[in-house]
Amino acid sequence: MARSINHNANTGALPDFRNFGILLRIVLVVNGVALLAALLQVRIIGQWPTQFTENAALVEPLLILSLLVLAAAGGVLRRLPYAAAIVAVLAIELALTAALHTLGRNWFLVDAHALPRWLLIVALTTGMLLVYFDLRGRALSPALAEARLQALQARIRPHFLFNSINAVLSLVRQSPRRAEAALEDLAGLFRALMADNRELTPIAREVELCRQYLDLEQLRLGERLQVEWHIENMAPDALVPPLSLQPLLENAVYHGVEPSEKPGVVSINIYTARDRLHAVLRNPYRATGDHHAGNKMALANIRERLQLHFDVAAELSTRVGDGTYEVRIAMPYVKARKT
């Protein structure tokens, strides 16, 4: 359903009226208003259920109709500038109210003179909801998420950084050329980590980053780290959130390879199938896992960013079995635009 990239990135955008969560929130708020009205209307507090039912009988038809219309018009509305979209939504709501009022007057026994009052209530409730969704959109906007992301990136394992520098230092005297290559990898990695990571990036670039990272780890761990790449069926132009794979590999090495004396295989399988991009990462798993906090944090962060970019169309799942730990990511195959 939500195939398109969710661009609630820019502040001030209408919510997605086809999203279940949004619908649920609207229904709850509108009924909340009906309840509030009931509490204000009754003289004796005990009578509120009756009053609420009465209010609901009036509100519900309008609510259902509104949701249907908004869901249908959602695509068009979201393409309008925000100000115009707000006016459009308000106009739709008021028109629906007026229409229902005129047509349904006989069924619902509504007072003929009540129309202005209803229009006002509907306008206020709609306005309130729009403000709420706007605030919520801002709260979830990448600006905030990115701040959190940067906090995470600042936390790229110091363990990795210092061990890598130590490894490079060991090369400086014996094999300066390899030291050069390693420093270049390190620089590339940090450039990527410090880049503006809001935009999606082609998966080929993410793979390149992963290779640089794994080369550095290889330097330290030697043959204890075995890497298997399966990317023959990967569309290199597929767009992914930046740093959606590298942190997972870091986890794989830290938890799966480093704690073991025996060589461990990290396998990376990326393929495109039926308009979706899949990535499957596997590493050896030991039951006696300690410090998993870092792992959870990286996973939560990637999941959050996938959601931000692809909404419910992307998924990330993990599985433990058979001595291996597996992370699976699936997201829509969005092609990079040729520039």
Binding site: N163, N166, G222
Partner: protein, 250 residues
């Protein structure tokens, strides 16, 4: 001038060992040192430490199999344990603990000057054993017993039971028995996933339990006993732990 300091390098990463060699070469200009050996893991390190005369062990903290803290604890069982200098790239927990217990450590990447300082101090320093026990985060991979000046490593997975007797704990493996000077309560805490207390003075390995039987045969009403793999001996289950028979019997 005194004899050169004999140093053992222990690190699981080859480049880190190579870097340490370079640094020791730099240091040796002012402080005479010789590299007495290199080990890529804890077991090798213990073997080398015992086969030759070693003054100082440069010990990486984070190593697979047996971490540096554990290696240091086993080393302390030697008759003349070498001084230990820990090296770590980054481990917030270990660094805090080292500072707390005033244990000397080096941060990777290591500077030659800092290494020289540490080596000079190490010649007359004592590693506090209690501090090492505190530093041990994860359960050890091995227990160690000192016999006639030699340290035996006993892999925890080979242990069938641990029984407290007076001031020692008997460690039973399928092959033989060892005596170690540790407290049963502490061992129980450290290895709670591995052993279960069946008696006030006895912990048995969960994985080794083959079943339970009554003392005095099938029909008997005697107290329960644990049957362990590869062992004739039966371990009595104390009255208070009878509930284990139901929980553990599969």
């Amino acid at each position: 001038m005194s004899a050169p300091l004999r140093v053992l390098i222990v690190d699981d990463e080859a480049p880190a060992r190579s870097r340490m060699r370079d640094l020791l070469a730099d240091v040796s200009v002012e402080l005479p040192v010789t590299i007495a050996g290199e080990a890529a893991n804890g077991r090798e390190a213990l073997g080398l430490a015992q086969s030759g005369e070693i003054d100082v062990v440069l010990l990486d903290v984070r190593m697979p199999g047996m971490d540096g803290i554990e290696v240091a604890q086993h080393l302390q069982k030697m008759q003349r344990p070498p001084a230990v200098i820990f090296a770590t790239a980054y481990d917030a927990y270990a660094i805090r603990a080292f500072d707390l217990h005033a244990v000397d450590y080096l941060l990777k990447p290591i500077r030659a000057a800092r290494l020289q300082e540490a080596l000079a101090r190490a010649a007359h320093s004592v590693t506090p054993v209690a501090a090492l026990q505190d530093l041990q985060q994860a359960p050890r991979a091995c227990l160690s017993a000192a016999e006639r000046g030699k340290v035996h490593l006993i892999p925890v997975e080979e242990v069938l039971y641990l029984r407290a007797e007076l001031k020692y704990v008997t460690v039973r493996t399928a092959a033989r028995e060892y005596l170690i000077e540790e407290s049963l309560t502490r061992l129980e805490q450290e290895f709670q996933d591995v052993f279960v207390r069946v008696h006030r003075n006895c912990l048995v390995a969960r994985a080794a339990i083959r079943g339970f039987e009554r003392e005095g045969g099938e029909s008997g009403e005697g107290p329960w006993q644990v049957v362990l793999a590869d062992l004739e001996e039966r371990i009595p289950v104390s009255r208070r732990q009878q509930h284990l028979v139901r929980e553990l019997a599969r």
